[in-house]
Chain length 295, copies 2
């Protein structure tokens, strides 16, 4: 195991452990709802978003700040999970498998999946508000997070992706979907620590740019993996995008050109880590992982 | 038109006008999503929650504060509407009519309804954060609002109501559902202005109690109306609770006892308005309206 692989494992375990704390058993009436939420939260996610958040935090602040900013990192993972639960629903992407396990509406039913998603989103805000920074930065940070998660961010991305018949299937739409549906929340994972720590605007903008390139890189590789990897390894139904005639980098540009785009985005991101002055190497390793990951 | 009816109309128009401002046309990709959200937001709601919020604000602060607190009032209405959209879905209460118009998934489809609900919830948080008070109170107020809207509030209420087979159909469960599903957000409409204005804890607690009694009153009368009023006047499918074997005050206690409970809650609420020292009469008139409304 390389030292970076070890780093990822330590961070993932740390996040898993802390997420679990937030879903310890509750009162009689809400127990089953928490159980459903935790089923999805604990269903084998790689925790890339909170790991990004923590590795950027380590570049910008003292070690002691990790604990204070942790609720914000966990809330991003909760928002990500809520979006997966709703995206998997029959009236959306209609997926039975996610991360190698049954999706929530398959494990329970649609009622539970819709409400667990709603609950997870509101809980994400509750948990975010436990972040240990000055209220001024807390409000600024929440504005930033919610904008990326809402109807000018993640939700409109999913909307345009699912209701494809309403939109011209061109390059602009492809870029819009990928940016909104995936890249923006990854951007937030990079830039939110800088906002919560009160960094200057210029630095926030640069980290934001780094986040957007990394997010696009992530989604392009996702498109490539959906096309090239068997379901068993992918942990979700592979080739689904193709079957559903989804607009992806592979369907629009072909496999080779998609790979080229991914490489370009990774180069831009890596260049920015140098410009920003990140020194520990973990952020760079995450970007390299985004390019080379197999599932 | 009585002066209170005039008061309600002026307030409702003010809220409608300001809600409209928040849903003015957007970019190409999000236009249809905004359109769907606004369809539900503008579908004839009585705006009781923001009217409560504004009438309590008028009791506690200078007139100039109305404008500053308005985004919080609107965000409560958005959260209320988001919950109606999701509650009406086929896998939930499966309702075709709401406020005399087609429900959102009937007007569009389930995909649009789920996403418009999600978008409305995140937008509610965005709009709430525009409230013009000190960040300390803003954070405190949002914690309060989100707790009532989330999985220890409104969502768990809907969960227990919809998944009734999982829970003992007794008095405790009936009270739990009504408190969580309806009363808590009405409680917030009463108490949130006090929190945002930095009132002392004792006053907040009293207003909260007033809100809970009013909220229970509202839901008991809702049960009675569902049982006694034809769909055409009710603006939604009447007798639905009965058909779905829902636990209501009427199904559990019978009509006469339910009416008695409603009267008791209204008395408790009215007594509290005196204790708190509300002077303008509008809060009292709202409570009386809750008891006497026909739809």
């Amino acid at each position: 195991m390389s030292s970076f692989e070890k780093y990822l494992k330590v961070k993932k375990d740390f996040i898993d452990r802390n997420l679990k704390r937030y879903f310890s058993k509750r009162g009689n009436y809400s127990e089953k709802l928490y159980e459903a939420m935790y089923y999805s939260i604990s269903a084998g996610g790689k925790r890339l978003r909170p790991i990004i958040f923590l590795s950027v935090t380590e570049e910008l602040a003292e070690r002691s700040m990790i604990k204070k900013l942790l609720p914000a990192a966990l809330s991003i993972e909760m928002i990500h999970t809520y979006s997966l639960i709703h995206d998997d629903l029959p009236s959306m992407d209609n997926d039975d498998l996610r991360r190698g396990k049954l999706t929530l509406h398959k494990k329970y039913d649609e009622t539970v999946a819709i409400l667990a998603g709603d609950a997870l989103f509101s809980y994400a805000v509750e948990v975010f508000l436990q972040t240990g920074v000055d209220e001024r930065y807390l409000v600024q940070g929440l504005r930033y997070l919610i904008k990326a998660a809402g109807m000018d961010g993640m939700v409109v991305g999913q909307f345009v992706d699912t209701k494809s018949q309403l939109f011209k299937q061109d390059e602009k739409t492809l870029k819009f979907i990928h940016t909104k549906k995936t890249a923006e929340l990854i951007k937030v994972s990079f830039a939110l620590p800088a906002i919560l720590l009160g960094c200057d605007k210029k630095k926030i903008k640069e980290i934001e740019k780094l986040g957007l390139h990394s997010g696009l890189l992530f989604q392009i590789v996702d498109d490539i993996l959906d096309y090239t990897t068997p379901s068993q390894i992918l942990g979700k139904t592979a080739g689904k995008d193709e079957k559903q005639n989804k607009l992806t980098y592979v369907s629009f540009y072909g496999l080779e050109k998609a790979k080229k785009f991914a490489k370009e985005e990774s180069k831009k991101a890596l260049k920015l880590t140098k410009k920003i002055g990140f020194k520990k190497g973990n952020v760079e390793s995450i970007i390299e992982l985004f390019l080379t990951r197999i599932n």
